[in-house]
């Protein structure tokens, strides 16, 4: 019986140590999490202040330029398609335009 009690104490100690280790793990994680959030807040605030001063906005400018350049490329493509359509005038329309010109150039 004494032996069992002795083992019981040792096992309880093992559990206590596990609880302590668990608390440490959670506390470390919490500490790390707090540091991460604090750092993120600090960086965000610094970026905001720098942006107000006009610094550190290059990334936004580059991103906006890339976005606008893609849009511009699409706009140009649309105009080029329209231009191609304009160049390929139908024969009927071409002849009608000629008739208008000749009607005005030649006296009635």
């Amino acid at each position: 019986m004494e032996r069992l009690i002795s083992i019981g104490e040792r096992l309880q100690k093992l559990l206590d140590e596990a609880e302590s280790e668990a608390e440490t793990k959670v506390a470390e994680a919490q500490k790390m999490a707090n540091e991460m959030v604090t750092q993120a807040k600090s960086e965000a605030e610094n970026r905001r202040i720098r942006a107000q001063r006009g610094d550190g906005i290059e990334d936004f400018i580059v991103a906006e330029e890339e976005k606008a350049t893609k849009e511009a490329s699409k706009i140009l493509e649309d105009y080029q398609q329209k231009a191609e359509a304009v160049k390929n005038v139908e024969t009927e329309r071409f002849e009608k335009a000629i008739r208008i010109i000749m009607r005005e150039v030649l006296p009635e």
Binding site: L4, V37, E71, V86, K87
Partner: protein, 214 residues
């Protein structure tokens, strides 16, 4: 030690080790959850920050966008305008070719002698006066000589008087006439190329509409 007590001891150890492992695993899971939540929070903070910065720099970004899109719109409209201009020019070029064929008498569907007669009377009517000196190219001068008498009769009929004289020096024009009065204070260009130019400046919109390029 009895076998029963040894078994009891072994089960106690097993249960305790299992519990210990559970405690550590739970703690690791909680730690992982905490770190994941922190990562999420950091991401949210960063996104909020991006939004705030975007608000701050929105006018600059708008300027960047307006510059790039504006240039593309400008370039695009230029390309389209050039294409329209090419289409319109090709029609006027073809009209010019047809006028050359008419002036050279190669288009049987058009009575060029009648066209010339109308060009002369139209110009004389617009100028008014008594004497009309008519310049034309060599080919048209020969034609006008043949119908000069008829033309004079027509002028008298329309204006109640007046005389047409031909300038014997040929002019380098496609067709039609240039008429001046005797003291050269009035001059009226009624050439085919001149009329074509006038049509181009006055009827380009109508031509563009007919072409479907407006």
């Amino acid at each position: 030690m009895t076998p029963d007590s040894m078994d009891l001891e072994a089960r106690l150890i097993d249960r305790t080790v299992d519990r210990r492992n559970e405690i550590i695993t739970e703690a690791e899971k909680r730690a992982e959850t905490i770190l994941k939540a922190a990562e999420g929070e950091c991401k949210r903070i960063s996104e909020d920050s991006d939004r705030q910065i975007l608000n701050v720099v929105s006018s600059e970004l708008r300027a960047v966008r307006d510059r790039i899109i504006g240039n593309a719109e400008l370039e695009g409209r230029k390309i389209l305008m050039q294409a329209r201009e090419e289409a319109i020019s090709s029609v006027f070029k073809e009209a010019e070719n047809q006028l050359w064929r008419i002036a050279e008498g190669k288009n049987e569907a058009v009575n060029y002698a009648e066209v010339m007669s109308k060009l002369v009377t139209e110009a004389a009517k617009a100028m008014g006066g008594d004497v009309f000196i008519v310049s034309a190219n060599e080919r048209d001068l020969q034609q006008l000589k043949k119908v000069l008498s008829d033309l004079n009769d027509k002028i008298k009929e329309i204006l109640g008087g007046g005389v047409i004289r031909l300038d014997e020096r040929p002019t380098a024009i496609m067709g039609g006439v240039i008429i001046r009065n005797e003291d050269e204070t009035k001059i009226y260009h009624n050439t085919l190329e001149g009329r074509l130019r006038k049509v181009r400046s006055g009827f380009e919109a109508e031509v563009a509409t007919a072409l479907g390029v407006i």
